[in-house]
């Protein structure tokens, strides 16, 4: 919302307050002023008159101008093409400050041997944005339209002594789209005088028109007839004001209608009465397949959702959005019919959005306009055009009756937590043009018609505190009974997991939840996607069902930055099995551990990923045994079928890990990339073993190493199972410390070296007992698995 300080000052006594300070006051009251700027810049500019102009003797580009500035005549060399004799111009004399000129301080200079005592200014040089200027104005100096007093202060005389405030409005304060409503607000904030303005026009005779409203989306409709008008250009000052407010000045009927809208907040639309073919107006919804030639010379397609103004059988306007070419006013217009109406803001908004037609009028109609001030813009037009309206036709023009809102002093204190004197609360509301009645310590407030946002008692409290000042609230802390509210299982699991994986050297990533089918397909098992119906683009259409797609994408991205060693994890929601679940993903590529002169690097592989997962699970109290692994399906789509495994718990698969399938690895150029995905929601339904003291054996263990020859088809888990089985827990631990494959071994075998930790917590074992135990183990290995000792 663009506001002219000068225009505002016509409706409220600003007491000469600095525009920048006014900006701060409005911001602090909830009307955020984004920018305050002087309309024009330049100190000490005066009006001058070029008495004589002749070509510069030594330059083709310059003109020597003898310029009368009242008390003296200055010789000025001017470079503008449009300068000439007998012109009124804006003159910057030596010493003048011009921030937007090429040389910001004007000096007396000599140009090509001719002295130059100042500058004749263009609008750009006094800081007028180019969008407010015509092509002629942009190309040269500003040539004034008529005689002015020579030497007069130029900015003030011409109307450039204004400031423009740009206010960003919250949706509840669309009333401020009216300068007059802003004046009410400012009067309340500054505690100053609001200049009362008559908003209604005198009773007139009934007009010639017949209005028929056939849609609920038209709330009120009125037509105001003006006759015998003279279309003419507005004054220089009026044009400047219109430019400043963001309008292109045309001629008085259009310009005054725009000003009336800015001041009242009610948009008007003006028809040329002589171009209307019928006296009958119908306001109703459109039909499909209708076309409409608008005053911007474009043809628009109507739908059944658009509200139309129909004269006879011709569409003369899309309500609140744009008028027709056939009925629009022009420089020859003599008689007009001005429409002032209230439409459903939703209907106007939808149509304006569909047609992409956001004008000052449709933007206002898209908010809620004040339907009780529909005569206000007409009243302003009467004044600006200096012609009285002749006749009126109006339907559903309602008289405003404010709804009373009750508010107790006690409630104010309870909500704010501080006590503001009751009288002050009442005074603040009255300053904001609320009518207030008092009954003991209860007030009954009647909001002005503009303030549709004030409906209930807490709305009044907000009015009171924002004027009283939030800075005057004395802070306190909420006092209440607090119950213990422990974290849920899944929250605890997520927190612990982040901490543990962090300790294991993994880096957390957070990627987007929205992806597309092309990408998700590679790592999705179900491909049963949760799809948006209004995605922003093709990249982000589906709420993902796996984390691996983004994980691998992230690895590729970092690879492209030559980051070859990556250790990543992510915990996030996914949509699987028709519900939101929490998943964990892990990714490793390159070295898990950096090498240097001191120690060798440790390259990430299946067993490092396995260790990470099972260490993490063990720390959570899920030991190997409760959590198991098993081979994945032979045709696994995204994992290397021979270097991958399911993680199972209670016979349910809770996750999967392994090396990226060679086909994908080749496509993405990610060699030996390890990935994992685990269902934390499922895991969190299980309880991990908790810490408990298990006793401390003071009897030292003994260690025995065995080197075995193992058939190729026997897996490590089978060997360990046999070693540990049935030995009265005397074998406390088994470590595989070496594997060896060599020619000298028997065919289809390999060698495995085990280290057994043997001990009895109650007594020392003697050599014989140990040897018996070892022999028993060896015998069972041979019987059950065909494993023999390597000599």
């Amino acid at each position: 919302m663009i506001v002219s300080y000068k225009l505002l000052n016509k409706y409220v006594d600003l007491k000469g307050i600095d525009p920048f300070e006014l900006g701060d006051i409005l911001t602090n009251a909830g009307l955020e002023v984004e920018n305050v700027r002087a309309l024009a810049q330049g100190s000490d500019l005066v009006i001058g008159y070029v008495k004589e102009a002749y070509p510069h003797p030594n330059s083709d580009k310059l003109t020597v101008c003898l310029t009368d500035v009242g008390n003296e005549t200055l010789k000025i060399c001017c470079g503008a093409k449009n300068v000439g004799q007998d012109m009124y111009v804006i003159v910057a004399r030596p010493g003048c400050q011009l921030d937007y000129a090429k040389v910001p301080v004007i000096k007396k200079v000599t140009l090509g041997g001719v002295e130059s005592n100042g500058m004749i200014c263009s609008l750009s040089e006094i800081g007028i944005p180019s969008k407010f200027q015509t092509h002629e104005q942009l190309a040269g100096i500003e040539v004034l339209d008529h005689e002015y007093q020579l030497g007069a202060e130029a900015l003030k005389t011409l109307g450039y002594n204004d400031f423009i405030l740009d206010i960003s409005l919250t949706p509840n304060r669309s009333d401020i789209y009216s300068i007059y409503a802003l004046a009410i607000e400012v009067a309340g904030l500054l505690n100053t005088t609001l200049f009362d303005v008559e908003q209604n026009i005198e009773q007139k005779q009934e007009g010639l028109y017949h209005i028929n409203i056939e849609s609920e989306d038209c709330l009120s409709y009125g037509l105001f007839t003006f006759t015998n008008l003279n279309a003419q250009e507005g004054s220089y000052e009026n044009k400047i004001m219109l430019y400043a407010l963001g309008f292109k000045p045309r001629f008085n009927i259009v310009d005054d209608g725009n000003m009336a809208m800015v001041i009242s907040g009610n948009p008007v639309h003006t028809f040329d009465a002589d171009k209307l073919k019928s006296k009958k107006f119908i306001i109703k919804k459109g039909l499909e397949e209708e076309h409409f030639l608008a005053l911007d010379d474009k043809e628009y397609q109507i739908t059944k959702d658009d509200l139309l103004i129909i004269n006879g059988d011709e569409i003369v306007a899309i309500a609140g959005v744009i008028g027709s070419k056939s009925s629009c006013i022009d420089e020859n217009t003599k008689n007009i019919v001005v429409e002032s109406a209230a439409f459903s803001h939703v209907s106007v908004r939808n149509t304006a959005r569909r047609l992409d037609l956001f004008s000052e009028a449709s933007v206002r109609f898209s908010k809620i306009v004040n339907s009780y001030t529909l005569e206000f813009p007409i009243k302003i037009m009467e004044e600006l055009l200096n012609v009285k309206c002749d006749a009126i036709n109006k339907v559903n023009y309602l008289k405003y009756e404010a709804k009373p809102i009750k508010l107790t002093h006690e409630k104010i204190t309870k909500v704010l937590g501080i006590t503001i004197a009751f009288e002050e609360c009442v005074a603040i509301l009255r300053r904001l043009s609320f009518k207030v009645e008092i009954e003991d310590s209860t007030l009954i407030a009647y909001p002005p018609s503009y303030r549709k946002d004030v409906e209930i008692d807490v709305d009044l409290i907000e009015e009171i505190i924002r004027v009283y000042g939030y800075e005057n609230i004395i802070a306190s802390l909420p006092l209440q009974e607090i119950n213990d509210h422990p974290l849920s299982n899944i929250q605890t699991l997520v927190n612990h997991t982040k901490k543990l994986l962090n300790d294991f050297g993994l880096n957390e990533i957070i990627t987007y939840q929205l992806s597309n089918a092309r990408k998700l397909d590679q790592f999705s098992l179900e491909k049963n996607y949760k799809e948006l119906y209004n995605p922003l683009n093709n990249e982000r259409m589906i709420y993902r069902d796996n984390l691996l797609t983004s994980l691998v994408e992230c690895i590729e991205y970092n690879k492209s930055y030559q980051i070859n060693d990556q250790q990543l994890f992510e915990i996030s929601h996914v949509f699987v099995d028709n519900k939101e679940k929490t998943y964990l993903s892990l990714g490793l590529i390159g070295n898990y551990y950096q090498g240097n002169w001191h120690n060798q690097a440790l390259k990430a592989d299946f067993y490092i990923m396995k260790a990470l997962i099972f260490d993490w699970l063990a720390k959570l109290g899920f030991y190997y045994g409760r959590v198991l692994i098993e081979p994945v399906a032979k045709d696994h789509p995204f994992l290397h079928p021979k270097k991958s495994a399911y993680i199972t718990m209670n016979k349910k698969i809770i996750g999967v890990f392994g090396q990226l399938h060679p086909r994908l690895a080749q496509e993405k150029k990610l060699n030996e990339c390890l990935i994992a995905q685990i269902d934390l929601s499922l895991l969190s339904t299980n309880k991990g073993r908790i810490n408990k003291y298990e006793g401390l054996s003071l009897i030292p263990s003994v260690y025995r190493d065995l080197s075995l020859i193992v058939p190729n088809d026997i897996y490590a888990n089978e060997i360990i199972k046999v070693v540990k089985q049935g030995n009265n827990k005397l074998i406390k631990d088994v470590k595989i410390f070496d594997l060896y494959y060599g020619q000298e071994l028997p065919e289809h075998t390999y060698s495995m070296a085990l280290s057994l930790e043997i001990g009895n917590d109650n007594e020392n074992l003697n050599e014989l007992e140990i040897n018996n135990l070892i022999n028993k183990v060896l015998k069972e290995l041979q019987n059950k698995l065909n494993i023999i000792l390597r000599n």
Partner: protein
Amino acid sequence: MISELKQELTNMINDVNSLNDLQNIKVSIFGKKGRITLLTKDMKDKTIEERRQIGQEVHQLKEYIEIIIKQKELFLIEKKINDDINNEAIDIYLPGMEFNSGTLHPLTITRNEIESFFNSLGFAVIEGNEIESDEYNFEKMNIPKDHPARDMQDTFYFSVEELLRTHTSPMQARTMEANAPDGPIRVIVPGKTYRRDEDDLTHSHQFMQIEGLVIDKNISLADLKGTLELFAKNIFGSNTKIRFRPSYFPFTEPSVEVDVTCHVCHGQGCSVCKQTGWIEILGAGQVHPNVIDNCGYDSNVYQGFAFGMGVERVAMIKYGIDDIRLFYNNNLNFLKQFDKIK
């Protein structure tokens, strides 16, 4: 003769340079055929008087030599330690072993800091689903269909009724319903939220929000101010001040925007705060009576405050990050910059 021997042995011991040689000398003096041992070899030919005389002298010599050998030995041990130390010198400037230390995402770090502050004030941390219903995301939060506020937050829909939550506020409604009609509430709700915005320097279609809600019979705007003052000091430093600016949210009344003093210039005005001295940090207010009534409490009896902040925004201010997309690019060179404890 003994005194000559004493001199000779003393010289020998003095000349020794290694513990090994000293050991050999020791044997050559005290061994079976050692020089001192030999002195008492043919004592049986001597008189008792002579024997005593010789015995005494030999004993004195023996004691003397033992002492100087011991001294020499200590000297040589010390010398060997010193020699060894010099031989064992290493380059202390070579890098040590490189540990593999991981990092949490800066949004998680920021979220954790905010959570632990509110935890210390007794706020419970609850989370909700990201896929929400129109009813909880909008209707119950006093944003009916066609409300102008729906323009403020363009929404991703799955269907007419199902959407990606545009804020964490639906959990306000769910928490109130779970505790209605009279349970006191003091919670924060962190989580991912979504707006139908093109991604740019300051906008992200996915972002993280933390919502706060306190409901009881007498929870006031002054309590909100006190809570957020402590929050700002805890997160942005003890000199931080806050200010409330009136604003508008459909689910709070009165509504405020909350600014904190700029952490760079401390309120003096600089480029970070666009010369205002203040940085906008969150939105807050007293919960709208319609919301309270919608969720099973009686707004004539119960009231409270709510606030909502963007975690990205807090992190961007704290760390001086100027592009929100960096959080979601996950460049490891970016992520590893946030590995300090605080």
